[in-house]
Every structure is written in C-alpha cells, then in structure tokens.
C-alpha cells in the first residue's frame, strides 16, 4: 500500500493507461506544461509530449467536439473541463453528439472517451465555479456517469472508465483533490455499477456521493458513539446505478436519506428516492429524506457558502429526526 492524494490517484490512473495505449490523449486548458488548473495533469506533458497532453484554447465546444472526432477515428480521448460549471458550454457536444453517436448511427461507431470534470464547492469560488451538475447527465441515455469519493475509488474507476468503449462523464471533486488515501502498489480497477458500503449500520441508510460521503461518514462515526448505527452507501457510479445495493441497505434499515451537494430540487436525490419509493416501498418505515444545497446559487464567503451547502450538522439533524 502507498498513500496518494485524490489528485495523484487521478494522475496515476491516466499515466498507467496512457503508457499502455499510445492513442490515448488528454486535452484541456492548461493541462500541458502548466500542469492543469487543479494541478492534476502535473508532469504528464513532460512524459507524453505535446500531442498526447494537449493545451487547448478556451473553446469548450471545440475541446469536446475534438475529443469526439478523435475517439471515433481510432483514438481514445480524455478531455478535462476543470470546473464543472464550464460544462454548460459543450452540452450539445456531450448530450446531442457524444451520447447519441453509437445509437444514431445504428451501432457503427463507439465513442470511447472520458470527460473528466471537477465539481463542488466549499472552496469559496462563488456562483460560477462551485456547481455540481451530475444530475443533468444521468438524464441523457448513452452516457455513463461516475462520481468517486476517495483516492482508491478514483484511481480504480478512472482506469475502468478509460478502458470503457462508451462515453463516461467522470466527476471529480475540487475539495477532494488534496485528500489522502491508501492505494495498492499493484494495478487494480473497479467496475462501473458497483456501489460501495463505506460503513455498515442498521438504523438508517445514508446514500451519499462524492465529498458528501465523507460528511456522512463523519456524522455516522459521531452518532455511533451515541448508539445510532448509520449505514453509508456510496453508489460511486450513477449510470449504471447499483440499485440492488441501495435497496438491500434500505431493506435492512427501513430508513433512507440521500445526500448530495447539488441543489436539492432536480438533483440525483429525486431519482434515488423515486427508485426506493417504488421498488423499496414495502421496506420503508419512514418518509424518505433528501439533503442537498438550499435553493440559491452558491455565494463565495464561507459564512454564506456554508449556509447554502449541506453540512454535517444538517445531516445529523435529519438522521435524528427520522429515527
């Protein structure tokens, strides 16, 4: 085992896969000599050179379109959109083009590409640099959506995503880049569609994603001392979604809370709640609760941002209200 940051784990996954396949390339603003907006690409440019680690103009549609064009003609692109907020610009390329290419042309060409992007707040970056938009992508058939919460997960899932022959929206978290975790020395991958129970428990299931997994774990560890047993389920991938693991957890606990950082309304919490309210209805002893950002854009100073975004206090309160 070795200790890597989430950022390093991402880089290592790319490095290992790029060494194996010379047609994989990374493209994005400042991914080259500068080392990436969040310093994720680091030294990849010096190892792989100009054409495999490509600095792009501020042309998000161009970047994603280019990644698509290359990926249907023998390459595998990894495109970086450093703030998920900017992903609004290439939505057409992602959702009208990439997601539908295989389907529209009757299976003629697959699109083996990964769009790496970083979501999330808690970094005082204000309204246009803090959003979480994963919910948009689960709504578009043809895209896989991955949202890892730990260094271990991010490395194993990114390697799988790069090898996948389908387009993957790979959602990192800015706040997590600095987080350290244990990583095996040997190579490993994690399949898409397999949730991870980050902590077992019996009283309530908290289904949380990305950075919220850590907040949920902190609360769970705290409540354990108070005799409340919280199960924390991390779906890890949203498409495909491992609903069996989620439903099994709810079957055990009879109570479900879904926590995500994105605004509550229209977030993935609705989707997960709806699955439980349909397929797990008989298991439930209490209303399904959702926790997400309050109904406002994300302001920058800590006093305001922390008020809008989910907090451990809020998660704890909801758990206690539900029991």
């Amino acid at each position: 085992m070795k200790t890597l940051t989430y950022r390093e784990a991402v880089r290592e996954a790319m490095r290992e896969e790029m060494r194996k396949n010379e047609y994989i390339f990374l493209m994005g603003q400042d991914v080259g000599p500068y080392g990436g907006e969040h310093r994720v690409s680091g030294d990849l440019h010096s190892e792989f050179g100009e054409w495999r680690v490509k600095d792009a103009p501020i042309s998000e549609q161009g970047i994603i379109g280019c990644a698509l064009g290359a990926s249907i003609t023998g390459c595998r692109a990894i495109a970086e959109i450093p703030f998920m907020d900017f992903i609004m610009l290439p939505m057409d390329q992602i959702c009208n083009q990439i997601a539908k290419y295989l389907y529209t042309f009757g299976g003629q060409a697959s699109v083996p590409l990964v769009i790496r992007t970083a979501m999330g707040g808690y970094i005082r970056a204000a309204e246009q640099h803090s959003q979480c938009l994963e919910a948009w992508f689960i709504h578009i058939p043809g895209l896989k959506v991955v949202i890892p919460s730990t260094p271990y997960d991010v490395k194993g899932l990114l390697k799988t995503a790069i090898r996948d022959n389908n387009p993957v929206i790979f959602v990192e978290h800015k706040y997590l880049y600095g987080m350290k975790g244990e990583i095996p020395e040997e190579e490993y991958t994690i399949p898409l569609g397999v949730a991870d129970i980050k902590k077992e428990g019996n009283d309530v299931s908290v289904i949380a994603t990305s950075y919220m997994v850590h907040k949920a774990l902190n609360v769970a560890n705290k409540l354990e001392k108070e005799g409340i047993s919280v199960e924390v389920v991390d779906p890890r991938t949203l498409v495909p979604l491992d609903k069996e693991t989620i439903l099994k957890s709810v079957e055990k606990t009879s109570r479900a809370i879904i926590v995500h950082e994105a605004p509550l309304r229209g977030g993935i919490g609705g989707e997960i709640a709806a699955i439980i309210a349909d397929e797990g209805f008989e298991y439930l002893d209490a209303p399904i609760k959702r926790i997400g950002a309050k109904d406002a854009p994300i302001p920058f100073p800590s006093v305001l941002e922390d008020f809008i975004l989910p907090s451990e206090v809020g998660i704890e309160k909801t758990i206690k209200e539900l029991l």
Partner: protein
C-alpha cells in the same frame, strides 16, 4: 493531371457522381411525400460541391456531413440501397432504420455522420484531423457545412484549433445564401465572401463558384495536397443555391427571379453543356447515363420498400456497446 485541364475520365466521373445525387434526390423528393416519415432535406442544386470535393478523397479519408447530407454520402461512395432503406426507416438501412434522412453515416468509407445540429460537425471534423496527426497517417478530413453554420460558435472554435495545430481538415462551406427561411445576409454582414474569415484564423481561404464542379475539384485538390503534406487546413467557400425548399414540403420564401437566376446556373446543366461542347460526351450518352443511374435509384427504392421494418425492440439497441 494538370491544374485546369482535367482528363476526360475524371470529368465523366464527376458528372456521374453529380447525376447520382440529382436523381437520388429527385426520387427522394417524390417518394418521401407518400412513403416516408419524418423530415428530409435534399441537395439538388448543390451537387458540384460534394462531387468536386470528394473526388479528391481516398476511401479512408473522412468527411463530416450535415442535415442536407445525402449528396455527401453518395459522393464519398455510399451505398444507395442502404441510404434509401434508412430514409424509409428499414432495418437494412445504414442506421438500422433508426435515424432517417437527418442522420446517415458510413464509417466503413469514412463518413463520420450527418448531423441535425447546425455546426456541430465542425469540431468533430477537427477532432478527426487531430486523430490523424496523433496516429501519424496521411489521411485528410473534408468538413461540409452551410453558410448558416458559419454563424455558430462551433465554427469558430473548430476552425481555430485546426489552424493553430495545422490539422489536415478542409472546411467546405456550401453557401446557398439561406438558412431555412432567412437570407443569411440579414444576420451576417460578410457572408458571400466568407474566405476573408480564413485570414483571421491564419489559414488559406478561397471563394469559389460552387456550381462549377471543375473549380470545386481543383480548389479542393490544392487544399487536400496542402493538408496531406502537413501544412494545415483550408477554408473553401462554395457559392451555390438549393433548387428545393429548405426541407421537402416547406414553404419557399425566396424571390422568383433569384431562383431563376440560379437555376440557369444549374451545375449539372453546366457540366453537360461543357462536355457536349468539348465533345467529351454525346446527347445519347447523357441519356443512357441518366437511365442507368435512375435504374440504380429505382432499385434502391425497391430494396427499401421490400426491406423489413425494425422490431420495436431495436429501439433499445446501441445505447451502449460492450
């Protein structure tokens, strides 16, 4: 082959390609109305562009196409039966009958797909160019789009990247003066001499007569040679006019005189006249050529008609690949 005088075989083959497109589209206009679903945009009047451009391409070169894409497919060597079957929504079509007129592709001959989103193919073509560079082949990409598409941000972004990185892409504007029912000059000050835009990206651009197949061919030849030798992209602004309405069944808001002016410059009539004058062809040969091609088109229609309709479950295939 010298620059201006093309040999007879080449001219004949350009002519034949144009004729294939014309007769396919004329037939499509007719059968669409009673036998197909959805919407269809035909290419009549603009045949010289697809024919002149694609005659410079090898089978493994790429093209990206548009909503008005049948002509590109035919010029790149597409199979009329599979095309027509697709337009009829039949399982034997290029896309299993799923996608119809707006979305034809044949990856086996480098047709990377027509597109229902105006301008969206431009960065995709750039990406194919990037792939060529990375893989180190000598392929090129021809990227077709309309004069309206030039007003999309994707044009700007896609072309800039290709120019910056000397990618082997030929950007071909099919400048038919209109975007649906609006004259492009109403929303774009520079729109007839688009070549000037190329300077702003640092690449060559040329305004050409898009109804003169030989001019299109020779301008493309230069651009393709340049691109293959690693010197980067070019922009070809081909002036033309569509004979049809925007889509089949749409109203026509265009000026009668304008239509007449352009019909007199029909690219097929022009090449026929030229060939007759230069004795490359005879009236008889023209007729037999037309008959032969119409026969192919009719066969394609028959093939489509007889082909099976997909089972509903086909609608769930191809969302993901293994």
């Amino acid at each position: 082959m010298n620059n201006i005088k093309l040999n007879k075989e080449l001219i004949l083959s350009l002519y034949e390609t144009m004729l294939k497109i014309r007769l396919f589209e004329k037939t499509q206009e007719r059968v669409f109305k009673t036998e197909q679903e959805g919407f269809t945009h035909v290419y009549t009047g603009e045949e010289a562009i697809a024919a002149g451009v694609c005659a410079n391409l090898n089978k493994d070169d790429y093209i990206t196409s548009t909503h008005r894409g049948h002509g590109h497919m035919i010029a790149k060597g597409g199979n009329m039966k599979k095309m027509m079957a697709e337009l009829y929504g039949r399982l034997t079509g290029y896309c299993k009958g799923k996608s119809g007129s707006l979305h034809i592709a044949d990856f086996s001959i480098g047709v990377l797909g027509a597109n229902g989103i105006v301008g969206a193919g431009i960065p995709i073509a750039t990406g194919a160019g990037y792939s060529i560079k990375l893989r180190g082949t000598s392929q090129v990409v021809a990227c077709f789009f309309g004069d309206g598409a030039v007003t999309q941000g994707t044009f700007h972004e896609g072309v800039n990247m290709a120019a910056a990185w000397n990618l082997p892409v030929i950007y071909v504007i099919e400048n038919n003066l209109y975007m649906v029912g609006t004259k492009t000059e109403r929303v774009c000050k520079v729109c007839k001499n688009y070549a000037v835009k190329a300077q702003g990206y640092g690449m060559p651009g040329e305004d050409i007569d898009g109804n003169d197949v030989i001019e299109v061919y020779t301008a493309t030849k230069k651009a393709v040679e340049r691109a293959r030798s690693g010197k980067g992209p070019a922009l070809l602004n081909c002036m033309t006019y569509r004979h049809s309405t925007h889509f089949v069944g749409d109203l026509d808001v265009r000026d009668k005189q304008e239509i007449e002016y352009w019909k007199a410059r029909d690219p097929i009539k022009r090449i026929e006249e030229k060939m007759l004058k230069e004795k490359i062809i005879t009236e008889d040969k023209i007729k037999s050529c037309r008959d032969k091609i119409q026969g192919m088109v009719d066969e394609a229609v028959e093939f489509a008609r007889k082909s099976p309709v997909p089972k509903p479950e086909v609608a769930l295939e191809d969302v993901f690949v293994e």
